[in-house]
Symmetry: C2
Subunit: 217 residues, 2 copies
DNA sequence: GGCGAGCCGTACCGTACGTTACGGTTCGCC
DNA sequence: GGCGAACCGTAACGTACGGTACGGCTCGCC
C-alpha cells in the first residue's frame, strides 16, 4: 500500500540554481527517457558532473529529485465544496476529469511514469511510490471531499468514497494511460478531452446519483 | 494507432528447444525485469550466448521473441454468443472482467508491461505495440462480438461498440494496472477479483442495459 | 568409423557510462 | 587585494555488459 513517502517539501530546500538544473534534467528526461546520461544532464544544465554528484548523490538521487521537483510543481488548490447543487457538482467533476486527462496525456507525465514504472521493476528506489503519491493518490485526496460533500447534499449515493472514486477514475481514464505508456499514438485534443470529461461525469452520476425522486425536488 | 504488428504465429516456427529457452528468458524477465543480461539468460537456459545471438539476433530480438512467445500462449477461445439472454450475457461479462483482472495482476503481465513501457520510451522496437495488440486490443476484439450480440438481442443499448468497450474496460480495470506497474502492493485475491467483476458488470449493465420496460418482458 | 552441423561453455573484445579527480575560474567576504 | 568556497569543464578510471571467437562435445548421416 506504500503510503510511506518522505513528505519533504523539496521546493523549499532547493536553491534556484538547483531548480534550474532539475528543470534541465526534466526536459532531458522527457526527450530521452530513462537512458539519459549524467554527462548529458550536466551539459544541458551547464553544470559539472561533480556538482550533480555533490547535490544529488548518484544517478538515482538525481532521478528521484527530478520526479519530486516536478511533483512539487503540480500541487493545485483544492476545490471548495460550499453551496453544492447538482450543477456545480457536475462542473466540479467535469473539471477533475478534464484536468486528469490533461495530466496523464502530457509528455511530462508520460515520461515520468515510464521511468517510474521501469524503476519499480528493479526495486532500487521508490520512484513508483512518489509518482503514485503525487498522481493517483493526490487526485483521490482532492476529489473525495467533493464526493463526500455531494453525498451530504443528497446528490450522491455511495457507501464508500474510495470505491466511488475508483469507479470515477476508471470511467475517466479507461485505457488512455496504459495505451499512452505503451506508445500508442492517442490524439487527445482539447475537444476530445472535454467530451470525455462530460461523458465520464454523466456515467458517474448515472451510477452514483441519488435517486430522490425526479431529481431536483 | 499502431495496428501494424507482424502477425507471425511464432508458436509454429519455433522448435521445442527454442520455446524452452524463451520460457527461461520469460522467467528471468519476471524476476529481474529489464536489466536481465544475456549471460544470465544463457546460464538459466543452459545454452550458449552464441546460440542466443544466432537465434534471436540481438538483445532486443530476444526480448521481442520472449514477449511474442508469451502472447502466443495467452490466446483464448472466443466466447460464443448464441442463445443470449440477460443471465448468460451477465455471466460472459463477468467472465471477461475476471479474466482480465487476473491477467493484469499476474506477475508475468506486470513484468512484460514494465519492459514494454520502458522500451516505448526509447522507440527502439515495437514491444509496446506487441503488448498492446495482445492485451488491450485482443480483449476488445474478443469482447466486441459479445457486446454486439447483446445489442442484437435487445439487451444492450449503445451507439458505438468501441466506446462501450472502453467504458467496460475502465469499470473493470480502474486504477489497478497503473498501481501495480508503479509497484503498489495491491492484493488481488480470487474473492476480490470475483467481487470486482460482478460490480463492474452491474455498473456496465446499469449504463448500457436496454431500457425496454422492466427488463424481461 | 569418419564427418560435419549445431550447440555448449568460456574467454575475450569494445564500448558506454557511472563515478571520481583535478586544474582553472568566479565570487562573496574579510 | 587576498583568501577560500563553490562550481565549471574535462580528463581519467573502473566496470558491467552486449557482442564475437573459439575449442570441445554430441549426434545424425553417409
Amino acid at each position: 500500500m506504500l503510503h510511506i513517502v518522505p513528505d519533504i517539501d523539496t521546493s523549499e530546500t532547493l536553491t534556484e540554481r538547483q531548480k534550474a538544473v532539475l528543470d534541465a534534467a526534466l526536459r532531458l528526461l522527457v526527450e530521452e527517457g530513462d537512458q539519459l546520461t549524467m554527462t548529458a544532464v550536466a551539459r544541458r544544465a551547464s553544470c559539472s558532473k561533480e556538482t550533480l554528484y555533490k547535490w544529488f548523490g548518484d544517478r538515482d538521487g538525481l532521478l528521484t529529485a527530478t520526479v519530486q521537483w516536478q511533483a512539487s510543481k503540480v500541487r493545485v488548490a483544492p476545490v471548495d465544496a460550499k453551496g453544492l447543487d447538482l450543477a456545480s457538482l457536475t462542473v466540479s467533476l467535469e473539471r477533475f476529469a478534464s484536468d486528469w486527462l490533461k495530466v496523464i496525456s502530457s509528455d511530462t507525465s508520460i515520461a515520468l511514469n515510464r521511468v517510474a514504472v521501469g524503476h519499480a521493476g528493479s526495486g532500487k528506489d521508490n520512484l513508483g511510490a512518489v509518482v503514485l503519491e503525487n498522481g493517483r493518490f493526490a487526485l483521490a485526496k482532492r476529489l473525495k471531499p467533493v464526493l463526500e460533500a455531494g453525498r451530504q447534499a443528497g446528490l450522491l449515493d455511495f457507501a464508500d468514497a474510495e470505491t466511488a472514486f475508483r469507479s470515477f477514475f476508471g470511467l475517466v481514464a479507461r485505457d488512455v494511460q496504459i495505451r499512452l505508456l505503451l506508445g500508442d499514438r492517442l490524439e487527445l485534443t482539447e475537444a476530445t478531452i472535454g467530451g470525455d470529461a462530460v461523458r465520464a461525469t454523466q456515467q458517474f452520476l448515472a451510477l452514483f446519483g441519488a435517486k430522490t425522486g425526479p431529481q431536483g425536488l
